[in-house]
Symmetry: none
Subunit: 208 residues, 4 copies
DNA sequence: AATGAATGAGTGTTCATTCAT
DNA sequence: CATGAATGAACACTCATTCAT
């Protein structure tokens, strides 16, 4: 999970021997930001390689299909995000704290991995067949994680039980996913503020 | 706003004389469902005309550019949805009722206009230049509408004032927008149920 | 079956409106001679359209796949050749005459349809799936026709019966197919001469 | 002339130190069968190296160009076949016996070197420039050999003199070359049977 | 109003070949 | 001797759009 090269035209000075890892990373980084900006379907392999300062041949040396790149970006992000969530859950024992912290922890992710997140949220549809299946499983674990927290909160009497936790979970995920459409780093709100507001709204809404 | 032609292959039997309006509608309907399923960038004009049972020439008789169709779909939907919201606001005097009813009213829209809504939410990015500007204005009015309701609620002492209404409004919009990614008509939950759960969550979260 | 345009570069003067049939024919003719000269796999669609004085887009307006062209050429030739053979068989009542005339009739075909014949004989392998199956059936009828003549000759006591007619038939077909590798119109031998020599060889070899 | 590796995927287990000769042979063998199956133009260097269990770099260590491999296969086969023919001619003193034995000797070659023979017969066209010239000379000697036998037979009054030996020779070569298109080892006919039938046909057709 | 032929730029992908290691 | 990264040109095919009819 890295996504730094937002604009990195024309690397590779004459005679320089870069390592394959560098090429690979440059391709992935370029793809992340282009897919994020323009969408997967509207981004050509040519654009990706131009942005990475590499030829199309190099692309197909590293990846078999354009779709493989998409899958990789998805996978990387979901792995990163899942482990970040699991860390939060592990750090706090009580479901209400977990819920509040999970929400708070999300906003900085929007900030740091904006492009990856957009790809993850909006370009999933272009994964086909086996590539889709592979990613689907991980996305499902992601949904479950939220519901587990909500379920435990209900069991422990911390959250009201008249609101189906599945629907509530999907509501929270939607609220958070939407953030990347409007949040601008350095804009009117800080990440903490957004986290506090949405966290309070949900926590108080769930109070018994 | 019409979106009936979910599956309408091969109309126009030999010798039938359809009116231009019918051709136009068929093209729009086909585009709505194809853009909804596959996305704007991944849908070709050919696919649209095939689905409408019409030739490519006919398409360019009715529309100058593929993007015009997208704009039209956006515009139609946003007009429809804005007026639906305004109806709700007009019908209920109190902000808390308005908020609850706006949320409730949304889910049936997801149900009936799934494809249009997806296009509206996900394909906006492909509108460029003047076409984007034209649509942007209407989308902004849409956001304002939510915030007006929230602001009035705070002024009238119905909603707490420690949660910025702009952020809360965007949170609600996100929650609702996300519904189309998981809601299946005839599935586990009815539209009313989803409306009640999310409405309650938000209303109680906002309570003073 | 037409194959006249051996070299026809740059048709289509400015402002001229050619009919689609002309474009189609130009493409087919160009393909026949290029496939004949260089082989199917070594000929690009670009080369075909260049030779036909047409853009690549025009090619794909008329044909869905490069392979479709190959199939069409095969089909056209086999139809033409089968009917030419059947004419010969119909015109002569006796199997020995039929055999002699079938052999004689072949050499002028080599002369007139050299490229088509080469494609037919050497490029069949590039037909895949359904396209192969469609052509295979006709090629089989072609083999049968020879064997029918030989079988009838044996039954009528005109040909010896100690040489399996299937093997003999394939021997004759091989002899004839090979002609296009060495025969040059206007060269050392006339078509009649070649027909007489090979016909005599076979007829006398089959005599009881 | 060796052509054993009909199916030899993934040799070279980890840690094994093969000799360069083995690599070279593996490449040639893979090329023979792939060229035979798919044709030269439709076979990529990648496919050859994959089948040989070797990297592309290794290929270009042993051969300068893909075409060199084709030339080598041609050369190997023609050398092998010429010497086989010369052996037969040396072993039998009389032209009629020579002719019969040359035909008989051909069928087992079809059987054992099917792929090589196909490459030799069908892929010659892809040899260009100097590589073509080098091979052409040997192919011509091959044709001459047949004609020498026929000429001597006519001189000795064993074969009729009203059938041009050049044309007859090419007829025989065609008959034999065609065998590989239909002969299947273990099929309806044995190699001896085919040799006998075609030999008898020709010999009796040439009888004075 | 609508067709169907055509364009020309662009798509994702594969190719034979080179070369630093 | 062999690898694996990289190139650059070419591949079959698709695209949005134009236009004569």
């Amino acid at each position: 999970m890295a996504q730094t090269a937002t604009t990195k035209r024309k690397r590779r000075a004459a005679g320089t021997g870069y390592s394959p890892e560098v090429t690979r990373r440059a391709l992935i980084d370029s793809a992340v930001s282009l897919f994020g900006e323009q969408g997967y379907a509207a981004t050509s392999v040519q654009e990706i390689t131009d942005a990475a300062g590499v030829t199309k041949g190099a692309f197909y040396h590293h990846f078999e299909h354009k779709e493989d790149l998409l899958r990789l970006i998805h996978d990387d992000f979901v792995d990163y995000y899942l482990s970040a969530m699991e860390d939060v859950v592990a750090r706090y024992p009580k479901p209400d704290e977990q819920l509040a912290e999970l929400i708070k922890a999300f906003v900085p992710i929007v900030e740091s991995y904006q492009a990856s997140l957009r790809v993850f949220l909006q370009e999933q549809r272009y994964l086909t067949g086996a590539r889709f299946a592979a990613v689907k499983a991980k996305r499902d674990r992601f949904d479950e994680l939220w519901q587990d927290v909500l379920n435990r909160g209900i069991e422990q009497g911390l959250f009201r039980d008249d609101l189906d936790p599945r629907v509530v979970g999907l509501g929270i995920i939607g609220m958070l996913s939407w953030i990347q459409t409007w949040y601008r780093p350095g804009g009117r709100y800080t990440a903490e503020e957004v986290g506090r507001i949405l966290g309070t709204l949900v926590l108080d809404g769930l109070k018994v």
